[in-house]
């Protein structure tokens, strides 16, 4: 673990990413204390430019709502959407990929055809349809994002499991009488952790973007303040009030950037190129 941190901290970008991410999480957590008023409250004149009023230093939007408050509360929702949808798609993708990769044969065939089914429909289009059909709400958005983003997880995991399956320690586990599910759970899955973590960090980023895109298509949840919502709403007034969509844009950019940097750092730390590779068949 310490070795891991050592390698991770060598990656300067990754550390910066982690710091940014930490700050954003902090902002999300502290939002209710920093900005106790509802972010929807119309508190000042509309289109108040940033840095003019000390209380509302980021200015206000089309309806005089405090942008800073929106950003802080939005951080929570955006991160939540990113995390939950990623977790859900991992929960779908990992079992499917693991079973397909481990058992092979018919199981693999069936599960992979099933996966292909989902990959054959353009994913954003499918997300749009799903949200429209189940009516926009934070739940349906999360579910839709999860549904369109699990296939790559399944594919990745299947590949990993297939290569791990041929490793001797899996054979050894078979010989020691462990049952298939124990083997998948104890021997194989822990070894797929690093590619999964790396992929997951990218998926969180992608989910935040998809949520904002859905908001833009008018498929956001109007009850929760998310970055996607602010940017989508601010986009129509971009000519009058650049700041409304600029700040959430920067927030998304930073978060996605941070997540990607962290992902890259994880990648480096988990797959050390420096250390000598053991002989592998």
């Amino acid at each position: 673990m310490t070795e891991f941190w050592k390698r991770f901290s060598k990656h300067r970008g990754a550390v910066a990413g982690l710091v940014i991410l930490f700050l954003i999480v902090l902002l999300a957590v502290l939002a209710p204390f920093l900005f106790p008023k509802s972010p929807w409250a119309m508190v000042q004149r509309p289109f108040l430019p940033p840095f003019e009023n000390a209380t509302y230093f980021l200015g206000t939007d089309t309806m005089g709502r405090d942008l800073a408050s929106g950003l802080a509360h939005g951080a929570y929702v955006s991160l939540l959407v990113g995390l939950v949808s990623t977790v859900v798609s991992l929960l779908i993708g990992i079992p499917i990929g693991a079973l397909a990769g481990y058992f092979g044969g018919i199981v693999d065939d069936v599960l992979m055809r099933f996966t292909e089914l989902f990959q054959s429909v353009p994913s954003f289009a499918l997300a749009v349809v799903l949200v429209a059909i189940f009516q926009p709400s934070i739940t349906s958005i999360v579910v839709a994002i999860a549904i369109v983003s699990w296939p790559p997880v399944a594919r990745l995991l299947r590949g990993e499991v297939m290569s791990l399956k041929s490793r001797d320690f899996v054979d050894a586990a078979v010989l020691s009488g462990q049952r298939s599910f124990t083997i998948i759970w104890r021997q194989i899955l822990p070894n797929t952790l690093s590619p999964i973590i790396v992929l997951a960090s990218m998926m969180v980023a992608a989910a935040i973007l998809v949520e904002s895109a859905l908001s833009f298509m008018g498929l956001g949840d109007a009850n929760v303040m998310s970055w996607g919502y602010i940017i989508g709403a601010g986009r129509t007034v971009i000519r009058q009030a650049w700041w409304v969509s600029f700040f959430p844009g920067v927030a998304i950019l930073l978060t996605v950037l941070a997540l990607n940097l962290v992902g890259e750092g994880l990648n480096d730390a988990l797959n050390p190129r420096l250390s000598r590779k053991g002989r592998q068949a």
């Binding site: 970008g13 055809r113 292909e116 089914l117 990959q119 054959s120 429909v121 353009p122 994913s123 954003f124 289009a125 749009v128 349809v129 799903l130 429209a132 059909i133 009516q135 980023a205 973007l209 904002s212 895109a213 833009f216 298509m217 996607g228 940017i231 989508g232 986009r235 971009i238 000519r239 969509s245 844009g249 998304i252 950019l253 978060t255 996605v256 950037l257 990607n260 940097l261 990648n267 190129r273």
Partner: protein, 323 residues
């Protein structure tokens, strides 16, 4: 090869069929129907009017009968009639498909071309400033919401600078023909294709870079060095070619996705493609049209996957000879 193609074809047909059926139920699960939408838009309706519409659209029949009718049409390559537009679905889609293909393929070319180029450059300069800058720029394009980027591009290039048209497929009513028309379309294409392309570029940059770095650790690269080859040749001939294999796989997956996935860009740039057609069909509950778009874009995905596989066989002799 023929066996391989035949196998893939059978599989594709099967998948398309399953997609048709499952999407059929999915779409019908949405609240409201096309009759209600049309009634809503007309600003006036009575029960008789709705009855008429539903009967005309065949919505009065039980769902399984509707499904049966639809599937029996689809297997005969007939995607049915658009309730709303009163035109065959296939005609509507074919009218839009060229624009979509043009946009997505050029975006694809932009993203793949630039992505590989920049990725290779970054890998060759690993750890140096230019590497960091390339990766950072790629990431910024990736991390900026697409619609925001699109609008910025329009503001800059079409309003401020006036270099390029900000939306649309061609200059309406200009009466261009032949080369002039092609040029006109090309001008309109620049902004949407670039915006979409730059977004996807990031993925290729990263992938090419990572893959090149990985390949450059491989033994045969050392062999190449031992031969006395110059680094440039090694990078191009040995590293890049091998590094491109995973990129090709991903590209294949993505090329197909682009066809129906450019809804956002098509909306912002008023590009008359099928992504938008899908979205409109969706909000109008134009079931047949929506299903048709799905079937066609799924077919595109499958087609592109097939092309990738064939291409992959071409690039990687191991697979080519093995079959």
């Amino acid at each position: 090869m023929t066996r391989f193609l035949a196998g893939r074809l059978v599989r594709a047909v099967f998948i398309l069929l399953v997609i048709t059926v499952s999407n059929f139920f999915l779409i019908h699960a949405a609240p409201g129907d096309p009759a209600a939408v049309m009634a809503g838009e007309s600003g006036d309706a009575d029960p008789q009017f709705l009855e008429q519409l539903r009967e005309r659209f065949g919505l009065d029949k039980p769902l399984y009968v509707q499904l049966g009718i639809y599937v029996s049409h689809v297997v005969r390559l007939d995607l049915g009639y658009s309730y709303r537009q009163q035109l065959p679905v296939l005609d509507l889609i074919l009218e839009r498909l060229p624009a979509t293909l043009l946009l997505s393929l050029s975006a694809f070319a932009v993203s793949l071309g630039l992505g590989i180029l920049a990725g290779a450059m970054a890998a060759a300069r690993q750890g140096r400033l230019s590497d960091t800058l390339i990766s950072l720029f790629a990431l910024i394009f990736y991390a900026t919401p697409l619609f925001w980027l699109a609008l910025m591009a329009v503001l800059l290039f079409s309003i401020e600078l006036g270099w390029l048209p900000g939306f649309g497929y061609e200059t309406v009513g200009a009466g261009y023909a032949g080369f002039a028309r092609a040029l006109d379309i090309a001008k309109h294409l620049v902004l949407p294709a670039m915006t979409l392309g730059l977004f996807f570029m990031a993925v290729y940059v990263r992938m090419t870079r990572a893959s090149m770095l990985e390949v450059s650790q491989m033994d045969f690269v050392k062999t190449a060095k031992a031969k006395g080859l110059r680094p440039r040749v090694i990078q191009r001939r040995h590293v890049l070619r091998n590094a491109l294999l995973p990129v090709v796989t991903l590209a294949g997956l993505q090329a197909g996705q682009l066809v129906g996935g450019a809804v956002l860009i098509e909306t912002v740039f008023a590009w008359p493609g099928i992504g938008r057609l899908m979205f409109e069909a969706l909000s109008q509950r134009d079931y047949n049209l929506l299903l048709g778009v799905f079937v066609v874009s799924a077919a595109m995905v499958l087609l592109f996957n097939l092309i990738t596989d064939v291409l992959y066989r071409f690039v990687d002799p191991r697979i080519r000879v093995a079959s």
